[in-house]
Amino acid sequence: MLIGKIAPGGVRNSEITPRSVYLNRRHFMQGTAGAIALAALPASAATNERKKLEGVVKTNFEVSPDESLTKYDSVTGYNNFYEFGFDKDDPKANAGNLRTRPWTVKVDGHVAKPGTVDIDDLIKPHRLEERVYRHRCVEAWSMVVPWVGIPLKDIVERFEPTSSAKYVAFQTLLDPEQMPAQKRSSINWPYVEGLRIDEAVNPLTLMVVGLYGEVLPNQNGAPLRLVAPWKYGFKGIKSIVGIRFVEQLPPTTWNLLQPREYGFYANVNPKVDHPRWSQATERRIGEFRRRDTLMFNGYAEQVASLYAGMDLAENY
């Protein structure tokens, strides 16, 4: 992986070897089997391979000792990523064809430095951190995932938001050819999400590019996804192509679909039930008995102050 290794002399990545050629050459050098697989399945098979990320720094973001990491196969095989199908095993089965390079992210709105940035240029200036976070789905299951990413705060600051930037709105890729379930109209694609600006720059909020020390698998939202661990998983928008700084509260996909069930904030809260099920407990994937759900998913110390004085039953 190129991440963490900045090309010397300010030479842009694009001026050196095209990434696809570079990757193909690596695969070729990995042996005949790889070469044969590549010949048979050009771009698609390559994207499903596991690639280690270099220069990842471990941080002290950890969970309690009685919580262990969720198995890699579960983290990457049990996903809600409706662009690739509505069942939990659909994303893994259908996301192989997503082309995550070249990939650009358009940053605009109330910022001093808007622009369309290549994903590698977006990542390159930053140190990659591994953070072990609890991941709580609104469907009352949860995981513990070693994400690799960059604090969103560091990225946000590069674009110099103005004082009018009260919210950050994110958008997923819209491409029904690559994301087959976007051909269905049950959701108004593309998927959109948003955070209040103070939530976005909270030290916990992470722009994720990997997990388990490896490049983020497509089914987990490659090449770039959001992780705000005190919120329900659906806030963690995947395969991001747009970041817009806005003044008004931005629309969010699940809220548009079922406003009574999914709010803008979507903070994990055992006391505020989903209308159709309790949020008091959760099933940790890989465990038999349910666990009690923690306020703000166990991150109250870091984020409770963001919501001081707010009625959380009202602002769910």
Partner: protein
């Protein structure tokens, strides 16, 4: 279409046992899944959903017997109706037990609160409750004791259970409502065939009433 003539021996000794064994296949698949860790990352949820799916499927299959007879005059199908209905009941009970025992681990206070509070669970419970008297009165003796007419009236609850089952499924789905809608469409079609047949042709009403009288 003429009525199929299948020798009694085949019906009683080959076809019926085969249908019985085939109806156990989903359970075998589930047991295989548990023993090989093949039910995915969330086997408890997979089990509950799988059993619920099959409860609804068997209910629809059992409910299809009479309409199919009306359309085709394959009267021998009536021989399978009770068994299929009992399988629907069995899968529905297992579905409920999976929710109680595996999903909630016998947290009775929570379970009761959920049944009362969550409309989709309330409706699901209603479906199971509807099936209980049907299972209890499924024997020949009970048909006789109730009398055909009353037995038939009671067993219309199967349609209530079907409607409740489809609504229960529809309500628990987050966004992709295609599958519950398909079940709903099948149920509507089955009911329409009965109504249409009852109004226009008056042919081959289920013979339970007559059989009961003869018995």
């Amino acid at each position: 279409m003429s009525s199929m003539r299948i020798p009694e021996f085949w019906l009683a000794c080959v076809i019926k046992p085969s249908v019985f064994l085939a109806s156990l296949l989903p359970l075998a698949w589930l047991a295989w899944g548990w023993s090989t860790d093949g039910l995915g990352a969330n086997p408890i949820e997979a089990t509950t959903r799988f059993l619920g799916d099959w409860a609804l499927r068997f209910l629809l299959i059992a409910l299809a017997v009479t309409p199919v007879r009306m359309l085709t005059a394959w009267n021998c199908l009536a021989r399978f109706r009770r068994m299929l209905g009992l399988f629907a009941f069995a899968y529905a009970v297992l579905h409920l037990l999976s929710y109680i025992g595996l999903d909630q681990f016998f947290a009775w206070a929570t379970i009761w609160a959920e049944i009362v509070k969550r409309t989709y669970i309330t409706i699901g419970m209603l479906a199971v409750l509807c099936l209980i008297p049907l299972a209890l009165t499924s024997t020949k003796g009970m048909v006789r004791r109730l009398g055909g007419k009353r037995w038939q009236k009671l067993h219309r609850l199967a349609y209530v259970a079907g409607v409740a089952g489809v609504i229960h499924f529809y309500m628990m789905v987050k966004a992709d409502v295609r599958e519950p809608l398909i079940y709903g469409a099948i149920l509507t079609a089955l009911f329409s065939i009965r109504l249409w047949n009852g109004r226009t042709r008056q042919v081959a009403r289920p013979s339970v009433a007559r059989k009961a009288k003869r018995a």
